[in-house]
């Protein structure tokens, strides 16, 4: 299981790549592995705006449907259209071709609440220790 360096993460397993005042959002390798084969990704419309922590979509696998939480407040400026026909990209390349949305970040300060790759990896290790959750 891979935690890509250079990205920011949150405990609900979404990642963010900051690019100027824009950001790309996806789900982590751990999340896609937990979900198993993704069969459908529900994404918002371009132009929708969300606050940090809002549900902006859902990913559905054969075992469960999980909400997606936006790590930063902002406006959706692009969604990954490829996922409509190829949801498996989320499994195959979670940090690359399996990206979900691109947003225009409305409050860059919010990024300081997110986890670094190392902090996220540590969080995953602690969760694995607990076993239950």
């Amino acid at each position: 299981m891979k935690v890509e360096q250079g990205l920011l993460y949150q405990e609900s397993h979404e990642w963010v790549r900051l690019e100027g005042d824009e950001a790309v959002v996806g789900i982590s390798d751990f999340a896609q592995e937990e979900l198993n084969d993704v069969v459908y990704v529900e994404l918002p419309e371009v132009g929708d705006t969300f606050a940090k922590g809002d549900v902006f979509g859902a990913v559905e696998s054969v075992k469960a449907a999980s909400d997606l939480y936006l790590p930063l407040s902002g406006e959706i400026i692009a969604v990954n259209k490829e996922l409509e026909n190829s949801p498996q990209l989320v499994n195959e390349d979670p940090y690359g071709k399996g990206w979900l949305v691109r947003i225009k970040v409305s409050d860059p300060d919010e990024a300081k609440d997110l986890l670094s790759a190392d902090a996220y990896a540590k969080f995953l290790a602690e969760e694995a220790q607990k076993g239950g959750h």
């Binding site: 937990e34 054969v62 075992k63 607990k130 239950g132 959750h133």
Partner: protein, 485 residues
């Protein structure tokens, strides 16, 4: 073993029915109503019968094998229930008959309501809801009606634990409430600090299953009820797991204000093929006026004619949330549940719960040193293991479940509850013998061994089922929703 579709055995001109000659003048259908693009199958009666009998032979059922599907209470359904439900007095009646002519049916409904009141401790019961989630919906509508009737319009949230059945948040949302998820603590109970933090004047109530979907009895149930009540909320009980406490504890005495009963689970009516079920709701005095109706009532014989039988009838509670089902609920299911309850009596029902809990704990202890048990406690009627076997990292719960089919067992519920990764939720029920429980445990242990020594056997299972491993991912990604030639 494969069986063609009914469309594939169709041959033009064959017919399984012969109709008498038409003895009235025929009129042509209007052209816009005639459709000829629907290729309905044409088969002989014999081909039709063989097709469906062969399909039925591929079924796994409680009557053919062990069915430990967690949270579904797939207990044996005594055939006596079926005999009762087939009595002509119950089958040859019509809901539009005058009440005077169906006194026996109304008496059965009334007495079933009384039985459920005695079992649960609630003040009143309605038999209207057709299934468990329908009962949840009825309960949430009553909670809403109760608050609004008091002029309390500021309650917008309902608390639901993260271990809840998926129907709980769905029923809540259907009633227009916001769902607030409450965490479980390390012992699998509701996290009391998280609960307190979310309790305020906006909380309409909480939906709780006890024992919960981990099969664990919440050790703080009385405290939870106090916390929810002290902020003005009501406590909804999801009765899905009543089989664990029936005849032992009364939900009303645990602090619940309203609960649904899954008659098809706890009271042994056939289910699992999509129905029919029955989800009666029981409530405290404070909610009795809001029950869905009509409800069966009994009016004693007048004192001047002491030989007369009491009279049974139907009534709507004064502030009823209304009807939720045509006529009087799923009546045939009510007959079966009544027969079951009267057959067992209070002592028999208590033994149901005791043996359900004993059987689950027997299996838990036989398996917990091989399969991870995330919440290590004495369980109630079911328990949840993880399919993450040490030393068999490439094997997933789905592989274990599929392999169990080769041993003749229906797999347990898998990947639920969501708070246990790779969950295997096992509910043996009280009706299984020690030999069956041991055979299942032996199979589970052998599968764990295979997972380490020959994982491909698991990846490729099942081998003996009518169909091999189905590609459920492809089925979800590229659904074919109808047959095409």
């Amino acid at each position: 073993m494969t069986e063609p579709l009914i469309f594939e055995i169709s041959r033009p001109g064959r017919c399984a029915a012969s109709l008498p000659e038409c003895d009235v003048p025929q009129a042509a259908l209007p052209k816009n109503l005639v459709r000829d693009e629907l290729p309905l199958p044409e088969v002989s009666e014999l081909d039709l019968v063989r097709h469906y009998v062969r399909l039925s032979h591929m079924n796994h059922a409680v009557d053919t094998g062990f069915y430990p599907l967690g949270s579904c209470t797939m207990k044996y359904n005594p055939k006596m229930n079926e005999v009762a439900a087939r009595l002509p007095g119950f089958t040859a009646v019509h809901p539009y008959q005058s009440q005077f002519t169906v006194q026996g049916c109304l008496q059965l409904m009334f007495e079933l309501q009384e039985c459920l009141k005695a079992i649960s401790g609630f003040a009143a019961v309605s038999l209207q809801p057709a299934a468990g989630a329908h009962g949840e919906f009825a309960g949430m509508l009553m909670i809403r009606a109760y608050h609004l009737d008091r002029g309390d319009t500021g309650r917008t949230k309902v608390l639901v634990p993260d271990s809840a059945h998926g129907t709980n948040p769905a029923s809540t949302a259907m009633c227009g409430y916001e769902v607030v998820e409450i965490r479980s603590d390390a012992r699998g109970n509701v996290d009391l600090d998280d609960l307190r933090a979310h309790c305020d004047e906006h909380v309409a109530g909480m939906m709780l299953t006890n024992p919960n979907t981990l099969g664990l009895f919440d050790e703080h149930i009385l405290e939870i009820a106090d916390i929810v009540h002290s902020c003005g909320g009501l406590l909804y009980g999801d009765g899905a797991n009543l089989n664990a406490i029936v005849g032992v504890a009364k939900p009303a005495e645990l602090g619940f204000d309203v609960m649904h009963f899954n008659l098809h689970k706890t009271f042994s009516t056939p289910h699992g093929g999509g129905g029919p079920g029955a989800g009666p709701v029981g409530v405290t005095d404070a909610l009795a006026d809001f029950l869905p109706g009509p409800i069966a009532g009994m009016w004693p014989a007048s004192s001047d004619s002491p030989d007369d039988e009491p009279e049974y009838g139907l009534y709507m509670p004064p502030k009823s949330i209304g009807r939720l089902k045509s006529f009087y609920g799923n009546f045939g299911v009510l007959v079966r549940a009544y027969a079951y309850i009267r057959h067992l009596g209070a002592e028999g029902l208590r033994r149901v719960a005791e043996h359900a809990v004993l059987n689950a704990n027997y299996l838990r202890v036989r398996l917990q040193d091989t399969y991870p048990l995330p919440y290590r406690r004495v369980c109630m009627h079911e328990f949840v293991l993880s399919g993450r076997l040490p030393g068999a990292e490439g094997v997933r719960t789905i592989d274990i479940a599929k392999r169990l089919m080769d041993f003749g067992f229906h797999p347990p519920t898998i990947y639920f509850p969501l708070i246990v990764p790779e969950a295997l939720m096992i509910e043996p029920t009280e009706t299984e013998s020690l030999e069956t429980l041991d055979a299942f445990a032996d199979a589970m242990l052998r599968i764990a061994e295979e997972a380490r020594t020959e994982p491909d056997t698991l990846h490729n299972a099942p081998f003996t089922a009518p169909l091999r491993r189905l590609d459920d991912v492809r089925a979800a990604r590229e659904p074919k929703l109808r047959w095409q030639p």
